[in-house]
Structures are given as C-alpha cells and as structure tokens.
C-alpha cells in the first residue's frame, strides 16, 4: 500500500543533464519507493506542456549549446517555476540550471543573460575552469560531489549558501560558499551526482515533497544506506583527512 504519490519533474533531461545528473532523478524516484511512496517521473522537454501538480523539480548542468536550447522554454515557464518556488515546492538545480535560476549570467564578453531570479546569485563567465572533487559542510551534514564549471557565482546580500567549502572551489573559489538556498529551492555546482552519496540531503527534499503531495508529515522507511555512507565518508577522508 503506497503512502502517497509524488510527481517528480526533471526539467530538460536531454539538454541539461550532462555529468550524470540523471542520477539525482533516479535516486529520488528509488528512495521514494524505498520509503513506501509512489514516484511518478515526468521529463519536461523544451516546447512541451509543463506538468500539473509538480511536487519536486530537478534540473542539471549542460553544455553552452544545451543552455541556448532551453532558453525560450525557460522564459515561457518562468512564471510557473517562480510561483512553484514561492509556494514552497522543493527544487534541486545543479550547475547550468543553478546559474539559470539566478539573476543573470554575465558572459566573458560582458553580455548579460537574464535568469529566473529565484535565487539571488549572479554568475560571471570566467577564463579559468573550476574542476575537481568537493567536500561541503551543510545543514544536512557533510556533502560530497564533483564540480566542473567556468562560471563564477557571487551571492546577493542576505542570500544563504547551500554549504561551506571544506575542499574544492565552490561558488567562486574565494569566499568558501557553495551553492545557494532560498525556501525549499537549492542550487549547487555539485555533480557526483549529488544525491546518491548524500542521502540525508535527498531525504530532506523528499520530506518536503511528501508534505506537499500528501498534506501529511514524511513517514520514512528504512533504506540501507551503508554503501552511500561508505562512498561519502571515504571521499571526505581522502579530501579533508
């Protein structure tokens, strides 16, 4: 007997899901089932109708060409996404989609491309690429992943970061912040993909989605996270001792 049905929307799985970001969708869908819920995964492609009743929204990173391919659709559905975010829908946006959820992306040539403004962050194109494994401290404990971005992101006044960098570059390589979070919306540069090895974070997103979908508190099951914990702890030990 399912404890409830949760609609999970993966936006632009073809264009913006390049470093294994699909794994986040897979992780959320599997964990929902392991916790006793029913997960319905919707893939939203450019030009198609945005699904009704989205309870959880995820997006990933892409190439510059992928980003260009989703621009028009993102503009068309921008108000919808903003309304969902303001209403408390949990969202996880990685890398390219994190940048597009910010105020603007300013290219190396100085051109300003507007974002959705859901997160108060601004990204500048950079000659230097920030690449490598990352360890963060977050409200969900230690989080590990892998960053690969040339955009350098700065948080607006009062914008809360997702985590503090213990190893790696993070938003910009200088202020020790990584990602951003407002309400239930999370942006981060961490691929990895971020969720499988960091199940506490995955379950936090799930808990919020379940509350929205069912109107009841999250009733967790007991998934075996031994492998996830080992994978995470070993990366932490390798990178920060």
């Amino acid at each position: 007997m399912s404890k409830g049905r949760i609609n999970l929307v993966h936006i632009y799985p073809r264009e913006m899901s390049i470093y294994g970001d699909l794994g986040n969708t897979r992780c959320l869908a599997s964990r929902l089932r392991w916790h006793g819920y029913e997960a319905v995964v919707h893939q939203h492609h450019p030009g198609t109708e945005f699904p009704e009743d989205a309870h959880l929204v995820v997006g990933g990173g892409g190439q510059d060409s992928g980003q260009a391919r989703v621009e028009a659709d993102l503009e068309r559905n921008g108000d919808r996404l903003k309304a969902l975010a303001a209403d408390g829908t949990p969202m996880l946006m990685i890398c390219g989609m994190y940048q597009l959820f910010g105020n603007a992306f300013i290219t190396v040539e100085g051109r300003s491309l507007p974002g959705l403004g859901i997160l108060d962050v601004t990204t500048r194109g950079n000659a230097k690429r920030m690449i490598g494994p990352v360890v963060l401290d977050t409200e969900f404990g230690e989080v590990v992943g892998y960053e690969n971005h040339s955009g350098s992101t700065v948080l607006g006044e009062g914008q809360k970061p997702f985590g503090t960098v213990r190893s790696g570059m993070g938003n910009n390589g200088t202020d020790q912040t990584e990602g951003a979070t407002t309400g239930n919306v999370f942006g981060s540069y961490l691929h990895g993909p971020i969720l499988p090895a960091n199940p506490a974070f995955a379950d936090a997103l799930i808990a919020r989605a379940v509350e929205r979908a069912t109107g009841r508190a999250f009733e967790p099951g007991t998934p075996d996270d031994t492998l996830a914990d080992q994978a995470r702890l070993r990366q932490v030990r390798r990178l920060v001792g």
């Binding site: 970001d21 599997s30 060409s65 892998y146 690969n148 492998l227």
Partner: protein, 434 residues
Amino acid sequence: MLRTSVAVAAGKAARAASRLRGGGSALPGLVVERVDPAFLAHALADLPRGIIVVSGTNGKTTTTKMLAAILREHGLRVFTNPTGSNFTRGVISSMIPEIHLGGRLDADVAVLELDEAHALKFAAAVRPTHSLLLNVARDQLDRFAEIDHTAQLLAQLAEQTTGGVVLNIDDSFVARIRDRVADGVEVRYFGVDPSISERLPELMEADVRFEDDWAAPSPTDGDGLLKPADERSFEVRFGAEGVVGPVELRQRGLAAMINATAATTTAKMLLGQDFREASTVAALQKVQPPFGRGEIIDADGQPLELVLVKNPAGFTVALGTYGSTPVASMVAINDNYADGRDVSWLYDVSFESLRERGVAITSGVRAYDMALRLQYDDVAVEEVEPDLDKALERFLTAYPDEPKRIFCTYTAMMALRRDLAARYGLANFGEDPQ
C-alpha cells in the same frame, strides 16, 4: 641535423635510464622535444605512404592496431605508437629505439593513435596526410569540458589534413566535419549497413545529439558499411566496389566490428589500386585484442575477459556486447587523471543487464561509489574491496571453475593487467606481440 642527432642521442640515453628504473615512460620523448622541437616533423617527413592519425573518443587503440596490421599485410613497413602513448611525447618516445642518429624514421607509413587534444598539437608540428575520426562521446569532461569542444578539436584536425579524411557517417558530430575539409582532400565514410541501423543506439549517446536541420549523407561506393553475420563475423560492403569478408575477429561485439570497418575503409582509401581484400581479411583475423580491450586471459584454465570502460558510451557498448553471456563479474573503478576524475558518468550507464547474475565484487578507489550505483539498478553486489590486488585474489579464488569478466577503468586495468601478467606469465605492457 646536429641538433637532431643530439636530441636522438639524448632520447636514447633517457630511454636507457628509464628502462633501468623499470619504467617505459614518456620521459625520452620529453627530452627529445626539449632538445629539438622540430624533431617530430623531421622524423616523419617524406614517409612515402604518409602519416595517418586516428582520433576520437572510443576505439582508437583497437582501430590503430587493425589498420597497422592491414597495411603490414600489404607489405608496408609501418611505424605505430603502442597502446596508451597517445600524446606527442609518447609518440616520440616510441620512435627512439627505431630511429638512426640522423633522425629519420625507417618506415613507409606512420599510423598514430592520438588523443583528441594532442592530435591538434601533433598537427601543428606535422600535418597528417590522412585522418580517421571515429566518434565523439562524453569522456573525461574534466579535461575537455564540453562535447561540442571535443567535436571542434576533431574538425580542426580534419582541416589540417592534406590527403584524405575518413569520417563516421553515423555520428552526427563526426559526419558533419565533412563541411570543414579543405577542397581537394578526399572524404570517405564508414558506418553500419542500413539493415542493422536499429543497433546504432548501442553505439551512440542519443541523449546529447540533436537533429537540427542536418541529415546524414548517403554513402557512396568508396564508403565501407558494416554488415554483421553474428557476434564475431561480418562483411564490410563498399557499394559497387565490392565486399571485404567474411571476417571473423578474435574480439567480440559490434564495437570491434565498427573499428574493423573504419580501419578497412581507411586502408582502402590509402592503398587505392594496391588494396587487396584477401590480405585485409587475413590481417584482421590475426589481430589480437589490445591489452584490456576485450583481451582474454587464461586464468587457471578458465577464460578471464578484461574489458576497459572509460565513458558512458563505451560502458554501454561493453554491457551490450557481453550481456548476452552473463558470467562472474568484477567492476574496478579508479578516478586518477587517466581514468577521468569525475565518476558521475556511471549514472549515465544502465546496468540492468548485470541484474540476473549480480556482481561478485566491486573494487578500485571508487569501489563503494560503484556498488552504490549498482544498488540503484537493483544489481546485487556480493563484496566491496577497494584494494585491487585483494579484490582480484578473492575474485579468482571464489570463482575458480567458470569464465570471469572484469570491467575496469584505465589505471585499474593497468594495475590488474600487471598482476595478471605476473600470475599467469603474460607478456608485459608495451610488449604486445604484433
């Protein structure tokens, strides 16, 4: 000339020194490059049959080996770089023992496997007469950053090529490079016969390809198309120009057949009137799989297949090839530079074909990440052991009486291959019999 002699002498000395230390390294090449930056151009100048560069994401090593074998079977003296030395320094290093102090290479033709980024660096020093461009897939994006960028690198290599370019007709990134080839440079395609086009998704990453307004070109008579008969046997069809085959490879699967098709098409273009079908078939049938690329090792009387995996397309093809005969399996994932440091790509591979039999052991630096990935595909993992030596020992001990298979990333393969060579008295890396 004096500078070249000094460079060759210094390179030979460095090689002797590095061999004393037990290394076969790129150091001699580095030494030569420092002393004589024009060394490469000089050594390769005036090879009568030219300089062929093989590049792309998947299949470089196997294809290079096949092409060299075909040309040798036609009586040509072929210089080629051994497995893994696909940077300019590695190429120079491999020349050192085969070169006189005058610095000229004694060969008819050079067939060189080059990594996408280094192929351009190479072309800046020596313009290839021919290039064979295999495919573009997600591979080590921590180095190249974008697939579009990798495709650009290959297109620039094609622009630098003076005589002929061979392109993969089924890979839209590669086939469209046709528009970048200079006037007067011959273009040929290789690909799969339309009758098996439904198997293309096994070889491609459809999710990052977009149709745009681009249509695949129609093959013409000089283009080689693969028509398989079964897992190992196939023909290469050249329109009105005839058929090469049947060929039966020592390596299994569609990927190896595609590589053979690419090598055959390139050899046919290069040799023209001198191309002989019988020699081509004979050569391909003799080619042993390169180390770790479907190589079969006799492990106490049971076959142990070593399968190199380094990106989603390659792993997916490997699982498709071997999935039809499930055996005891080990998966070893490292994340050193040569492996690709980001293991996120494992989530772009579907492991469902391993579900029925399960995986005996995961190993390597990212053994737990691999086991976690398999957990998400409901594939049972009996054991996780990051230490490669211990894992291999346990794997061999636990399954003594049946065929075994190890999927591994590059540095994990090197370590396991070394261990297996010591255990079973195999040839060492770099001493691959021709």
